[in-house]
Symmetry: C2
Subunit: 440 residues, 2 copies
């Protein structure tokens, strides 16, 4: 009986310990859903304060249903410092560390190799390593396996197993999607694929398992995100074209999609967040065919500047200068319903304005430390609706009430969340991304 | 009662004659479906031989269900020469002429303005003009209306009505989709929009009518096609990346899509046909934001060359020269089930090969005048599966039988229609677009 056969037996009988390395927005929900399924889970993280926050039972970030799972005794959060014995007691490791970009837009493998160094401090014989982090194609076979083999003197596939099982959940819906989404499993060989499949099937006995190679699993994750990213860019390109022709881009797109079997164009808007913004570079920096992805990045990353450019023009058309304006920014997180400001296009708008010494007051109902709605809109000359939070729907009367008899104010709606006529009836000037009446 | 009120009354009581200018692949199905709905329809075309063919009851091109509708006495095909009286008797004109590209990739408006010249030979008072052809944004309001007004001395909106109602059907499914698809109607004013809506509702009383402006209707058609075109290019970019990493692009894409709520990536392959190939330029030549569309064209138009490039390399790896090879090309139409060779990527492959003096034998079960399967494959050194016709599924044993004891042959499958293992078991070398085993 090989070491991996023994492991398979332990997994079958739920007699194993799962170690999740990196319990941030990806790792923590995964750890808690495994714990809920009856698996003993230890979550490891560098940040001791963050570990204390989790231990206190408070969700460290917004994620639907997360907090209720924190008290599960099957789960324990542990600081990495001094955790050698705890780590040695784990049978399966799922690596969920961040893979950010360097300043030159290459992958920064630092956290991944730190995690591999940590788990190889004790023997990996009969153990299993799953890479959940998003990584460039070739990471598992060309980087992870050679590194682990040379550190441990063990042979992958016989002494230890490994698989690429990329995360694909939507932030905010992680708890639900970890259970429901099909799992892409790229084992380094058929034995590893089946062991990884048996582990993820603990989350849902009917979970669809999609078996493939590590390289294909790595690419699948990147293709999935780039498919969305390029389509968002295309919607934005359409919106820019519509502006140029004096049409309403969002309306045209909804006309195209309405009842049309070949529809499905996303609505235009600001695009950001860590997954979509950085994942493309994992493909781009490794291939000679990066064109659509690079171009999508150029378009999506241009949108905040486009908002600033249009504001400047529209203010000038009204005899005002953007640089003397006070701006209230509504929404700072990168998407609706989220408290995550990483790679947020709203933040980019704020920074672009502030670099020109425009005063910006930021308000986000989901983000701690931002100002109140009152402060953001009371004295604003320009209000930018930058994140389409539900909380902002129907908020115009409230803003009008706060402002009282203050002078005219220009609303720039990046999402078409408000109705233009209604905005004007409340005394606002109103502009929408992807729409420009030629007569205006 | 205005002239247009009178027209509306005639339409209400089915007491009007419809003139379709241009009865090709778009106009003829539309004419016949209107005739089937009880409308008196005259179809006009320049080509007398083509008119005779239609009059003989033979479908001039493949279109599911078309031939059965040709005998309807409500429909008559008429040659344009000498048709002044017939044209003068029409109340509503639907212009379905071609809008090809010039050599410089600008729109060639010639047929459209010829059609407008023809219909303005007699009075347009109380009549209606629908532009069904695909045109650049701004065509109706900036070109058609001024042209017609200056020719006739009439005033659009009071003396005659007009609307942009772009065609969106899938070739091969036109008869069904003309009835079922929502109709985008961009009248030049609300009265024109309602008249056009009442005309198209004759086809289906429950037809969904999407009311918008002429400019938005024109753009909607182009956005719809470019959405597909860019996504095909993205699938091809993914396939090229997969080849580079020694993976199988089509397999990765199907893994991404399988049960994934944010999936839907098309499969990679050759992209062509008149709509997708030319429509992008109608946007590109009119805007300063053409990037994704231009790039998609570059990628999709590159795919035939990529096939030739890979064939050259793969032959060289086998110690052969592509220039000495005989090539059997399976499929010449631009898409499965079609007999339409316009802008066909298969034809482009043939032309690229022939320009290097490679002998190509073309076979397409749908296209008249192509060679038999026997001739195409019997002596071939290379067989290219270029169009994914249903007729080619499971055809490998037949090809093997035809070839008998002929030497080794390389199959290049642009669509993943064949199974690689099966092909090899029949004694073929097998290569697939978007897939390249690194060990090969």
């Amino acid at each position: 009986m090989t070491a991996l056969d023994q492991l398979a037996g332990k997994i079958k009988h739920n007699d194993f310990t799962l170690g999740i390395i990196g319990i941030g927005r990806i790792g923590l929900p995964l750890a808690l859903v495994f714990a809920r399924a009856g698996i003993k889970v230890t979550g490891f993280d560098l940040d001791k304060e963050y570990i204390s926050e989790i231990k206190s039972g408070k969700a460290p970030f917004q994620e639907e249903g997360l907090e209720a799972l924190l008290s599960n005794p099957k789960f324990e959060a542990v600081a990495i410092e001094g955790s050698e014995a705890r780590m040695a007691s784990c049978d399966v490791f799922i690596i969920c560390v961040g893979t950010p970009l360097t300043a030159n837009h290459h992958v920064d493998y630092n956290q991944l190799f730190s995690a591999l160094s940590l788990i190889t401090r004790s023997s990996l014989l009969g153990k299993f390593v799953i890479i959940r982090s998003t990584v460039p194609p070739g990471t598992m076979l060309e980087r992870v396996i050679p590194f682990v083999e040379s550190r441990t003197g063990l042979k992958a596939g016989t002494d230890f197993g490994a698989a690429s099982c990329p995360e694909r959940v939507l932030e905010g819906h992680a708890i639900e999607e970890i259970v429901s989404l099909p799992e892409i499993i790229g084992g380094i060989d058929p034995v590893s694929t089946e062991i990884a499949a048996s582990i993820f099937s603990k989350l849902n006995h009917n979970k669809k398992i999609l078996r493939t190679t590590p390289g294909s699993a790595e690419m699948a994750k990147l293709f999935a995100n780039m498919y969305r990213y390029v389509n968002f860019a295309l919607a934005n390109e359409f919106a820019l074209m519509a502006e140029e022709f004096g049409q309403n881009g969002a309306e045209i797109i909804s006309v195209v999609n309405d009842g049309y079997p070949r529809g499905g164009i996303p609505r235009p808007g600001l695009v950001g967040g860590p997954c979509l913004t950085k994942d493309g570079y994992f493909l781009v920096s490794n291939t000679c065919f990066p064109d659509l992805i690079l171009l999508a990045a150029r378009i999506n990353e241009f949108m905040p500047q486009h908002v600033v450019n249009r504001l400047r023009m529209e203010m000038a058309a009204r005899g005002r200068h953007l640089n003397n304006a006070r701006v209230g920014l509504l929404g700072t997180s990168f998407k609706a319903g989220s408290d995550d400001e990483r790679y947020s296009p709203s933040i980019k708008i704020a920074e672009l304005l502030e670099s020109e010494h425009v005063a910006v007051v930021r308000h986000d109902p989901h983000v701690k430390g931002t100002e109140s709605l009152e402060k953001a809109v009371r004295d604003a000359d320009v209000i930018i609706l930058a994140t389409n939070h539900k909380e902002f729907e129907g908020i115009l009367p409230k803003i009008q009430q706060i402002r009282g008899k203050k002078g005219r104010c220009l609303i720039f709606d990046c999402w078409g969340l408000f109705d233009g006529q209604e905005a004007r009836s409340h005394g606002f000037d109103y502009l929408k991304l992807g729409s420009k009446p030629l007569q205006a």
